[in-house]
């Protein structure tokens, strides 16, 4: 009964989406407020029905109703409750349902909080949202219905893939989807602007918070996925340039560029056409990501869907939306008016440079990800494009971008003073040189480039700090005045500083982990001691334990340093009976932001066990950086300007802006 209700709710949502995709847009065309207002009610009702449908699937999983195929394949009666729930989106059908739920959520948010948008813009935006939603409801209902029943219900389910039975995976997909799907809003706004043929700085003010929100979630989602891979896959790697990872990195790069270009458009009314194009491209890359992951075209550890009809369907959605939006763009872009002028050396110029490098880097990732697929289709040759390709292409493009990061906020709008900015960055430069010297003197082994990269990272962090110091006048004023100024500083300034510093922090982590990581791989018997990076690790013994739905082999280690006992570490190997698969549970010990990492291999006949032990210096900074970036984004999102500025209607605001300048 619940399954049928969930299925029916989804069909109703599709019907609502069809109404919403036609009626409000006709209303906007004919200038009929009654028709335009339909969008608001249908968007909210759609959210209600999709939520009901999702709730139905969750209920089926929680109550272990194995007569439903989806539950049978991805759940098991012995599975802990939390994984019964996360199992809902740990599979293809469920995760697509989560995808449309989030899409409906964003549509609902625009409907509920978009009262201050011009009526026709809101109607068009929600109309475009409904096109996307309708396409994906159809996709789910036709090719991936999660509510299918099995004729003869089995007694127990097959269980969720053990690798996915992890708390990191509980949070990672929703976060990532909030990011992916969040970009649909800026896409819809861009299409609506093209349909209306009108775009102004107020448009950018409406779009920026949505883009920022999506970007924050995507940043956290990617970081979370990377940390999950680090501790769950058992080889201590945190980024593999796997196509599935690239699929989330591409919208992130384009979205980061969009955030910055929307800033130029909002402040200076320039780069309009480019911003619209970026909005379209960012969401197109999100769709491409969905296609890559969901169609099973990739050879990848992530691909847990494998059905060609689905692939063709998503490819069709992809072609229609990307092709359609780009055609609309080509037809209408020239009618958008030219924006403000600026000199090459200026804040705008710096942001253009940022966009140039980000989109080019995104293009190299795009080529590296799709080239193997294209080559296989065209010639039948199978190749893999791995880390060496991306290090060679992505790296050199990111270095100049990172060098430029501290300069951006120091330059004035319209016409900047590069020499002045360089002078103000003198302190940061000196800090960077000291960092290079210290890293050089302290480092043993590793690449000669590593100290330089550390210097670059310190330059970015120090540059962000010196921008703040300068703005609050810390050096020229008494501390009390500076503090008052710091409080008065717009939150977006703080946001910029945190986000930029986050890049530097992440870079330090990346460089230290890859260059000065030490490892031991070999066999150990009980009471053996391994010395690694100043720690002694003693294997106390092995034992068997029974978990809720697995058996595990646990190794107990005692970690000490200089004779002093620090902690116990218990890595384990779990064997899941329902699936006959096993996972490696690495043990992690954080010392500051560095970590000791132990993962188990197989036991040998003579009672020993193979182990991998890593010492990863400053590794936690890799994920702390993105968290800082997301925090910066959050600060920026809470800026008064974005909340207060947006409600004014376009005409009044345009007048206001001119008056202000």
């Amino acid at each position: 009964m619940i399954a049928e209700a969930g299925h029916y709710a989804l069909v109703l949502a599709l019907a609502l989406a069809l109404i919403q995709s036609i009626v409000p847009m006709l209303g906007a065309r004919w200038g009929d407020p009654a028709l335009m207002n339909v969008a608001r009610s249908t968007a909210l009702a759609q959210l209600l029905f999709v939520a009901a449908s999702f709730a139905a699937l969750v209920t089926l999983h929680v109550t272990s109703d194995f007569s439903v195929a989806n539950v049978f394949e991805n759940s098991n009666s012995q599975q802990p409750m939390i994984y019964k729930i996360t199992g809902v989106w740990g599979n293809h059908e469920g995760s697509m349902l989560l995808w449309v739920l989030i899409l409906a959520l964003f549509g609902g948010l625009v409907a509920a909080f978009g009262n201050n948008l011009p009526l026709s813009l809101r109607a068009n935006v929600l109309g475009v949202q409904a096109w996307i939603a309708g396409a994906f409801y159809l996709f789910i209902l036709i090719t991936s219905n999660p509510f299918l029943r099995i004729q003869n219900p089995p007694i127990d389910g097959r269980g969720l893939n053990p690798v996915l039975q992890d708390i990191g995976l509980a949070v990672h997909p929703p976060m990532l989807y909030l990011g992916y799907v969040g970009f649909s809003i800026s896409f819809s706004f861009a299409i609506a602007a093209l349909i209306e043929g009108r775009i102004d700085p107020a448009w950018a003010r409406w779009v920026r918070p949505w883009t920022l929100m999506a970007w924050i979630f995507l940043t956290l989602g990617i970081a979370m996925g990377s940390y999950w891979a680090y501790y769950e896959l058992g080889w201590g790697g945190w980024w593999f340039w796997d196509p599935v990872e690239n699929a989330s990195l591409m919208p992130w790069l384009a979205g980061t560029a969009l955030l910055h270009s929307a800033l130029v458009m909002e402040k200076r009314n320039a780069l309009k056409v480019w911003t619209i194009l970026l909005s379209i491209l960012t969401f197109s890359l999100s769709l491409l990501g969905t296609f890559l992951v969901r169609s099973g075209v990739l050879t990848s550890v992530h691909a847990f869907a494998n059905d060609p009809t689905r692939g063709v369907f998503i490819l069709l959605i992809l072609c229609v939306f990307i092709g359609g939006s780009l055609s609309l763009f080509a037809g209408r872009a020239s009618s958008l008016k030219q924006g403000g002028l600026f000199a090459p050396i200026s804040r705008e110029g710096a942001l253009v440079l940022n966009n140039l490098f980000l989109t080019t880097a995104c293009a190299t990732v795009f080529i590296g990800t799709l080239y193997p697929l294209a080559l296989e289709v065209l010639t039948g040759d199978k190749i893999s494009v791995g880390a060496p390709f991306f290090n060679l292409t992505f790296g050199p493009l990111f270095v100049p971008l990172m060098v430029a990061v501290p300069f951006g906020p120091m330059l004035a709008w319209k016409r900047g003073d590069l020499y002045g900015a360089a002078q103000r960055l003198m302190a940061a430069g000196v800090a960077a040189l000291i960092a290079v010297a210290v890293a050089w003197a302290w480092a043993r082994g590793g690449s000669a480039l590593a100290p330089l990269a550390i210097g670059l990272a310190i330059f970015i962090v120090a540059g962000a700090v010196s921008d703040l110091v300068e703005r609050i006048g810390l050096l020229n004023n008494p501390v009390a005045i500076s503090l008052r100024r710091a409080r008065g500083l717009p939150r977006s300034i703080w946001g910029t500083a945190f986000a930029h510093a986050g890049i530097g922090v992440a870079l330090i982590g990346i460089v230290c982990e890859t260059t000065w990581n030490s490892e031991f791989i070999g066999t150990m018997k009980p009471d053996d001691v391994i010395r690694l990076a100043g720690y002694e690790l003693k294997l106390d013994g092995l034992s068997q334990q029974l978990g809720p739905n697995y058996r595990e082999l646990v190794a107990s280690f005692t970690v000490s340093s200089g004779g002093e006992r620090l902690a116990a570490m218990t890595p384990s190997k779990r064997n899941f009976t329902a699936r006959g698969a096993s996972t490696t549970e690495a043990a992690l010990l954080s010392r500051g932001v560095s970590q000791l990492y132990i993962s188990l291999g197989d036991p040998t006949p003579d009672g020993a066990i193979t182990v991998r032990i890593y010492h990863k210096p400053l590794v936690l900074l890799i994920w702390f950086g993105p968290v800082l970036m997301a925090w910066g984004g959050l600060l920026s999102l809470s800026d008064r300007r974005l909340r207060v500025g947006a409600p004014k209607p376009a005409k009044a605001l345009r007048g206001g802006l001119q008056a202000a300048e």
Binding site: L353, K382, I383, F389, A581, T610
Partner: protein, 162 residues
């Protein structure tokens, strides 16, 4: 500067960056991509020793020899076999008779030295390259999946029930 000059500066910069990126991509595509082969493809193509490639196939039953710090085994695709030696920990799901993808290079004696070994991800997943290659050569057995589902698995380096 006039609007035109500014636009030209912008376009010039963009083209320079794009050309730089295109150069990098072309250079990287020449040097750092890795081809995929099965043992019979490797035998046909006479891959030179030292050239990196990905070797895919099934782990030949009865060929696995475990050492403390690694293992040696044979990868077969029905047509040919290739001895592989690997230093390091084999993945959790590595078993005789199952699909595997190894990346590395041949030495002068014709042994494949693997630097990384990927086993299939769970009991229903087979590396796509391997499955495609086996199907193409007609060695794909339809009962392969059902055998796996029934939990018949070969020897691994694991002992006891770990």
């Amino acid at each position: 500067m006039t609007r035109k000059q500014r636009r030209l500066t912008l376009i010039g910069c963009s083209l320079a960056v794009l050309a730089f990126a295109a150069g990098l991509v072309l250079y990287a595509l020449q040097d750092s991509i890795v081809f995929f082969s099965t043992p019979s493809m490797a035998a046909e193509q006479h891959i030179a020793p030292g050239k990196r490639f990905r070797l895919g196939g099934l782990v030949q039953p009865g060929s696995l020899v475990c050492r403390g710090d690694g293992a040696s085994f044979e990868v077969a695709d029905g047509g040919a076999k290739l001895p592989v030696s690997y230093h390091g920990l084999l993945p959790d799901l590595f078993r005789e008779g199952q699909g595997v993808v190894a990346e590395g290079a041949l030495d002068a004696s014709g042994t494949f030295h693997a630097e990384t070994v990927l086993a299939k991800h769970d009991e229903t997943y087979m590396p796509k390259d391997v499955a495609d290659a086996l199907k193409k050569q007609g060695h794909w057995k339809d009962d392969y999946d059902s055998k796996l589902a029934a939990g018949i698995s070969g020897k691994s380096c694991a002992h006891g029930d770990g």
